[in-house]
């Protein structure tokens, strides 16, 4: 009996071990290899091209990095990207809060239609949105201005923020709200002690989406922002678009990717640590 039980445990351990190994290998291939390739391409020495049949570059150097920093406006672009993104995140949160509350907690006619409408900016091709919106921005004298750029990025982050926050609002149990009302909680107390603590995990997830969307936004920024403002993707696309130069594109991609990954890890840690307590409002 004990032998059969041990064999069953061993089978389970083997299954879990195999699944873990499969997951690790898949992640390495899916995420690790492209990142490794990007790093290697960014370090290819211009005098020693990385060509078939070489498995690895013959010689590594910082020449591609030096090229990007010397000949592109990457420093200016970094400053702009990391100025616009935080403000766009805050603004998209503030603007999406009332919409998400209504869509998540209230029964309104045409709710599904509105849920679809808020996704339009990300459903439509980026350049089409950019070309139409550029007219609106110009009419309001928002082109070539920092405020215009923040508003444009806010617009692109809003669909993500609204969807995530709507789901968070939807998942708040009505019992808790009813209990609070029975105990005499007014609207302000309900917002402070129930809604906000319980949508925090959603807020953090929305912030990640809105932040990365802003950092990666190209079309609208290019049409209404340049030449006064350049962001990291406007530099990246010059190497990644029609004139695809893999070595330089790798450098800019890594510059764009690294802060995002760091932020993702930080937020992920916060989410994990506080998710349960936040969802119960015990913070």
């Amino acid at each position: 009996m004990t032998g059969t039980w041990n064999a069953s445990i061993r089978r389970k351990q083997l299954l879990y071990g195999s699944l873990t190994l499969f997951f690790v290998i898949t992640q390495l291939i899916w995420v690790g290899v492209p990142i490794l390739m990007t790093v290697l391409w960014s370090l290819v020495d211009p005098q020693h091209p990385w060509s078939f049949p070489d498995l690895f570059p013959q010689k590594l150097s910082w020449a591609q990095w030096a090229y990007v920093f010397k000949y592109t406006n990457i420093v200016r672009a970094l400053k702009t990207s990391y100025s616009v993104a935080p403000l766009a995140v805050i603004l998209s949160f503030l603007l999406s809060l009332p919409t998400s509350y209504v869509l998540g907690r209230k029964e309104i006619p045409g709710k599904k239609f509105f849920m679809l409408v808020v996704l339009l900016p990300i459903i439509m091709p980026g350049m089409v949105v950019a070309l139409f919106l550029s007219r609106v921005f110009s009419a309001f004298h928002l082109s070539q201005s920092f405020l215009g750029l923040v508003l444009a990025h806010t617009l692109m982050g809003l669909p993500y923020m609204i969807r995530v926050l709507t789901t968070s609002f939807e998942s708040i149990p009505q019992d808790i709200i009813d209990a609070a009302e029975n105990l005499g909680a007014n609207t302000f107390v309900k917002i402070k002690d129930i809604f906000l603590p319980m949508v925090r995990p959603g807020l953090l997830a929305g912030m990640i989406f809105a932040f990365t969307t802003s950092i990666e936004e190209f079309n609208l920024t290019f049409v209404i922002g340049t030449p006064t403002f350049e962001t990291i993707p406007t530099i990246l696309y010059s190497f990644l678009g029609y004139n695809f130069i893999r070595t330089n594109a790798s450098v800019v991609a890594l510059i764009m990717m690294t802060p995002n990954i760091i932020m993702l890890f930080i937020v992920e840690r916060i989410l994990k640590a506080d998710y349960l307590s936040a969802s119960l409002g015990k913070v």
């Binding site: 592109t72 990391y82 100025s83 403000l87 949160f93 049409v223 340049t226 030449p227 010059s238 029609y242």
Partner: protein, 386 residues
């Protein structure tokens, strides 16, 4: 948790406002002169009064940045060089077309955008009678670019040419005649590549040559401004030639993709632009042993031009920028930095990827634009979709 979120939001706000840059200054008022009749000295003075120029390109960031620094040193005029993406550059210019004052002064014009932008009447001109030493710049390119009549509105600033790029370790005797190319493709399936013509000029050049060879040459199209249906009636022969070899040809997605696939060993021979190849080689994206030539059956070439936008905020400075880029010093500097063949015909250049003899004997002109547009759409219909 509450503290973390507040801290995070606070941090976002502080970093955001800390880095926030100021808005661009309004363009300076330039002296009101008629650029078509003004003397060059008056134009230079007007350009200096304008104080800056904004130039959009999509390649050679190294050269154009240096050219911008030289421009500022020489004239005291600030040069904003924006290296974007080709499609995005034209989309932006078109989006701003109806504004009284746009944000782009001067931009590179090339590829399949020549026809669209000329049809949209996007550019100021003609420039040919304004730019000093305009007669020294490739005369045919002043008139026709990629088969489109440009009538002196677009200033040539470099010439480029398509040719066959090959790996000498894989191809010992590169084909010269059409029959030799056919035989090589048949003997080396999937080793010859060209890009989808809707995605880049080098693929267009190859299909252009396929049409020339299979349908009786290019002379009959000369001078046509509209497509004559009778003249394209036998193009089915060209599509049949391509369909018959579809399994033996590698169709890539862009000019650069063809070069990248050769560097990766997937193909051994491809059609490519000479300036593209030089740039990729210099940046470590293509092996140095690669060789290039124009075969005897001929491949098309041309060049890129610069156009001044009709609603450019600094028109005089834009004209001065073109004069600067096409000056002898800058044309030589450009060749030294990025190996782009000068547009000036009064320069003797050595060390080019393609020989002068090849250019002289084997380079062929494009057929007119309506045929080129037809070629691209018919290729998609008859080759890509079948």
């Amino acid at each position: 948790m509450k503290r973390t979120v507040v801290l995070l939001l606070g941090l976002l706000l502080v970093t955001g406002t800390l880095f926030a840059g100021g808005a661009k200054e309004a363009p300076k008022a330039a002296p009101k002169i008629d650029l078509q009749t003004a003397t060059w000295d008056q134009i230079v003075a007007a350009a200096k009064a304008e104080g800056e120029v904004t130039f959009y390109a999509w390649y050679f960031p190294d050269y154009f940045k240096e050219a911008g620094i030289d421009f500022e040193k020489k004239y005291g005029i600030k040069a904003n060089v924006i290296i974007g993406d080709q499609t995005a550059n034209f989309n932006k210019a078109i989006a701003e077309k109806d504004q009284p004052v746009g944000t782009i002064d001067v931009m590179i014009v090339g590829g399949q955008w020549v026809k669209t932008t000329m049809d949209l009447n996007l550019f100021y001109g003609p420039l040919k009678n304004i730019i000093p030493e305009a007669d020294k710049l490739a005369p045919s390119l002043w008139e026709v670019q990629e088969g489109v009549l440009t009538k002196g509105y677009l200033a040539p600033f470099h010439r480029n040419q398509t040719g066959i790029l090959y790996d000498p370790e894989q191809v010992k005797n590169p084909p010269q005649t059409w029959e030799q190319l056919e035989a090589w493709i048949d003997a080396n399936p999937k080793k010859f590549g060209f890009n989808d013509p809707s995605k880049g000029g080098s693929g267009q050049s190859f299909v252009h040559s396929v049409i020339a060879y299979t349908t009786g040459g290019l002379d009959k199209y000369k001078g046509d401004t509209d497509l004559v249906p009778e003249k394209v009636a036998n193009w089915d022969k060209a599509w049949k030639w391509l369909q018959d070899r579809k399994d033996k040809l590698t169709i890539t997605v862009s000019n650069n993709d063809s070069i990248i696939r050769m560097n990766g060993g997937e193909i051994s021979m491809t059609v490519a632009w000479d300036d593209n190849v030089s740039d990729m080689m210099a940046k470590g994206n293509l092996f140095k042993r690669a060789k290039m030539y124009i075969p005897k059956f001929g491949l098309a070439g041309g060049g890129d031009t610069m156009g001044v936008l009709k609603n450019a905020p600094h028109k005089a400075a834009a004209l001065l920028w073109i004069a600067h880029i096409t000056s002898k010093d800058q044309q030589i500097k450009k060749f030294q930095m990025v190996k782009a063949y000068p547009a000036r015909t009064d320069l003797t250049i050595e060390g080019t990827l393609l020989t002068e003899e090849d250019r002289k004997n084997n380079a062929i002109p494009w057929f007119p634009a309506p045929y080129k547009s037809h070629m691209i759409s018919e290729f998609v219909k008859n080759v890509m979709m079948k």
